[in-house]
């Protein structure tokens, strides 16, 4: 335990002091969580997905607790990119936090417009492209469930983003072969991959005997989906060993985060665990540092993909 682990993390060209980030949609734009831990100490704040215009989101109920998880159907409520830049991004910059801006659009054009609008804003470490969100153009399908649609969005965002700003495609686990989608995104210009978004689920209220959520279906998150997320990271690391991965899905402890690093993630996002413990990102940073030290790792980088090593028998 006496060795000090180098906790720096690298996500494509973005150098971060910690491999622990917040997860989009679980940290607003950092301000509320700054009351519980120093948001400048973690890797970065990943903001709630921002769209071109203000968006009300869905009616309530928007949430249902499930075993070791929850369903949500928020519907991308947000102030729109202009107010986001004026208030949230400005606060993050002045606070000195590194920021990964998550963007979401209903069309390829909206993604392009968002990338273009953010292009000259300072203080953006990376763009996370939320292609696992509702898609009007594809009639309720998500971009990330179709390799061609996913590629079109990433291509458009890449074209409108400075080469100095890495873009990460956020993938959905609700696909037959996640490596296929990952490959399409990388071919289209993604510098890295974020995985996983929530998986679609549903709860029926047995008192009302109707769906528990106003949106009927919702995204399942929390420790319940962690094995699925670790599997996705593992498969994509195996298929695309050189592509940086931001791993997420049910991380609640330092050992959970370690699983993702070992499976091949270069850094991790902590999402739903924040609802249980708003100081979770910083706690997990410290637990991960201790877990790495316990295992003799000298740096985060040394642990990335370590579970893929060949067993050497003498």
């Amino acid at each position: 335990m006496s060795n000090v682990v180098d906790m720096r993390a690298q996500l494509a060209s973005a150098a971060l002091p910690s491999p622990v980030l917040t997860a989009s949609g679980c940290a607003a734009a950092g301000r509320e969580l700054d009351r519980f831990f120093d948001v400048t100490a973690i890797g970065a704040v990943v903001t709630k997905s921002i769209m071109a215009s203000p968006r009300s989101g869905r009616p309530t109920p928007r949430m249902a607790e499930t075993p070791a998880g929850m369903l949500n159907s928020i519907g991308l409520q947000g102030p729109g990119v202009e107010e986001f830049i004026r208030k949230d991004l400005r606060w993050l910059r002045e606070r000195g936090a590194r920021t990964v801006v998550s963007i979401a659009g209903g069309s390829v054009n909206e993604f392009a417009e968002l990338a273009n609008r953010l292009r000259h804003e300072e203080g953006i470490s990376a763009i996370e492209v939320n292609i696992s969100c509702p898609n009007v153009e594809s009639r309720g399908q998500v971009f990330a469930c179709d390799a061609r649609a996913a590629g079109s969005v990433i291509h458009a965002v890449r074209r409108h983003t400075s080469a100095l700003t890495p873009i990460f495609a956020k993938l959905s686990p609700d696909v037959t072969d996640i490596a296929d989608i990952a490959r399409a995104c990388v071919t289209a210009g993604a510098d890295g991959l974020s995985m996983i978004n929530t998986t679609l689920g549903m709860v029926i209220d047995t008192d009302t005997m109707r769906p528990a959520l106003a949106g009927i279906t919702g995204g399942l998150s929390g420790p319940a989906i962690r094995p699925m997320a670790v599997r996705c990271v593992w498969q994509v690391r195996q298929a695309l060993p050189e592509v940086p991965i931001l791993g997420m899905g049910g991380i609640a402890t330092g050992l959970d985060a370690l699983q993702f690093l070992l499976a091949g993630a270069n850094a991790v996002s902590v999402g739903t665990a924040v609802f249980n413990d708003p100081s979770a990102p910083w706690r997990i940073h410290n637990e991960l540092a201790a877990a790495l030290a316990d295992r003799g790792f000298r740096s985060v980088a040394d642990a990335v993909g370590y579970a893929h090593r060949e067993e050497v028998t003498i």
């Binding site: 009300s56 309530t60 607790e65 969100c133 995204g219 708003p278």
Partner: protein
């Protein structure tokens, strides 16, 4: 009626602390949970709430349970105590009421924007539905300290679902009770007796906490009479700290624009005329960013 700001207390908190259970006692159909929570009592104003992790570690129950603060005592030997009222209807709340003295609790408090108090010592009517009455007794104390007359109405479906009858008698100039089944007090709803109480004692502010339907009724009476109402809403929350966006309801801002507004950080107390009560649970068509067409699967 001019109302004061809500004070600066909310800007100091909230704290995330390890609490310790001191007692759990029955009160009608409810349980009162008393716990030590260092530093919380001093920061708490009437209307604030706590968010408590349930199930121990590790737990399959991820979401904190939120309760309005019933009572605080800064003089406790363990650095201040907090009381909440729990209706044990699900696995999380059942876990909570099964705690025994000495058990640890992970507590975040005080949360939310508390009740605003009137600048002048005007008569106030406090209305609680079921265990929604929990925060009203602290509020009554603050109001009486300011020289306000306090009349109280407590209503519930039946006698065992009332909370705080003894506390109310002690604090309020008059206490009126209503039950749907007539098992105690007047048979009917709180709104059936509210007009008479207002007429009799000249209430200038209505404070309410309870089910949405009751709060909507209070807000309507207030607006008919041109007086102020302050309502603490009970929306389902996942985080309680402002990041999950699940506890929203349509609220009209000072700019006249309706937004889906978080009840955890912008509430739980709202002026009655700010909330679009009839449209709670919907997104009004004129709400900022309301969808032009419905579509798509749920995602953050």
């Amino acid at each position: 009626m001019s109302m004061m700001g809500r004070g600066s207390k909310a800007d100091v908190g909230p704290l995330q602390v390890r609490g310790e259970v001191l007692a759990v006692r029955r009160s009608g159909d409810y349980h009162v949970l008393v716990f030590a929570a260092p530093g919380v009592a001093e920061l708490t104003a009437p209307g604030n709430f706590v968010a408590i992790a349930v199930g121990g570690q590790p737990t399959a129950m991820l979401l904190r349970r939120c309760f309005s603060i019933h009572h605080v005592d800064t003089a406790g030997a363990l650095g201040g105590t907090v009381e909440i009222v729990v209706d044990a209807h699900g696995p999380g709340t059942k876990w909570l009421v099964d705690r025994v003295q000495g058990d640890a609790l992970d507590v975040i408090a005080p949360l939310g924007r508390p009740f605003s108090l009137p600048k002048d010592p005007v008569p106030c009517v406090l209305v609680g539905g079921g265990y929604g009455s929990a925060p009203l007794f602290m509020l009554a104390d603050r109001l009486r300290e300011r020289g306000c007359r306090v009349d109280m109405i407590l209503g519930a479906a039946t006698e065992s679902r009332l909370f705080g009858v003894v506390d109310g008698r002690r604090r309020a100039s008059t206490l009126t009770i209503t039950t749907d089944d007539g098992s105690l007090g007047t048979r009917g709803r709180v709104t059936d007796v509210l007009g008479g109480i207002l007429d009799q004692h000249g209430g200038q502010v209505i404070y309410g906490c309870g089910p949405m339907g009751m709060l909507a009724g209070l807000a309507e009476v207030a607006s008919q009479r041109g007086i102020v109402s302050q309502c603490a809403v009970e929306e389902a929350m996942a985080c309680g700290v402002g990041v999950c966006m699940t506890c929203v309801l349509p609220v009209v801002g000072s700019d006249g624009v309706t937004r889906m507004t978080r009840s955890c950080t912008d509430g739980p107390v709202f002026f009655g005329d700010q909330v679009r009560w009839d449209e709670v649970g919907t997104v009004p068509a004129d709400c900022l960013g309301a969808p032009v067409v419905e579509g798509g699967a749920g995602t953050r």
